[in-house]
Subunit: 80 residues, 4 copies
Amino acid sequence: MKAVVNIALKNGVLDPAGKAVHHALGSLEFSNVKDVRIGKQIVIDLDESDEKKAQSDLVKMCEELLANTVIEDYEIELKK
Amino acid sequence: MKAVVNIALKNGVLDPAGKAVHHALGSLEFSNVKDVRIGKQIVIDLDESDEKKAQSDLVKMCEELLANTVIEDYEIELKK
Amino acid sequence: MKAVVNIALKNGVLDPAGKAVHHALGSLEFSNVKDVRIGKQIVIDLDESDEKKAQSDLVKMCEELLANTVIEDYEIELKK
Amino acid sequence: MKAVVNIALKNGVLDPAGKAVHHALGSLEFSNVKDVRIGKQIVIDLDESDEKKAQSDLVKMCEELLANTVIEDYEIELKK
């Protein structure tokens, strides 16, 4: 089973890397860009056939290790 | 229009951060994890109503700035 | 003139990537590791002979673009 | 004992994040910036009094986990 975990800075948390890319795209004449936010995408290969167990394991992984939940949100997507 | 650009290391390119997370999850007793790869997810807010133009701009952004296409693959998703 | 800007999460801000590396090193039998923190090191090549001007430009770069000063500290080192 | 490990992309390896920051600084009127490269700085707290052992452990950590030595160089600094 494959899981995709997307981790993004919460709204309101400054994102210097996103801001840099935004400015850079502007200077490259992509003037239609209004905002850029940069997050992480973690792809996890899971040896688990029980979808509910996979889902609950992934939540624990995010809470315990993958995300800083004070400043980041996470989103889990299971792919069968 | 919102675009999500996922950038991942190509297969075969070592991913030390992914490996670290893999080991760490193992030591936290998530023994069902077989592999972890860490990429970037860039969310771009585009002021562009022409979907084709948006798509071709995004390809250019990836090629010129967002990805290192020697070692990374990118994937573009448009959300209306 | 070369400048090295080190950007680190402030004390007290959780660092999931550092934690992952810490766990991973533990599981690889580096049991003597007590803590790991991961920051960024930005190396900037500056065409500027006036050291004071360079220093003040670098502070502005950090404040305006390079760091998220709510959660990160920065440190500037000039190399002649 | 504290160790600082600086990991940088090898010369010649494209650095899209560095390029983005370079463009962004240009568009913010820091026209004196000639190049920007972004690496990682990992600070490791080591419970080890033998400096030689610390040094050799750190080399192993870099080779086995911290760096992708195909595309990255690392540099170890011990602080007593």
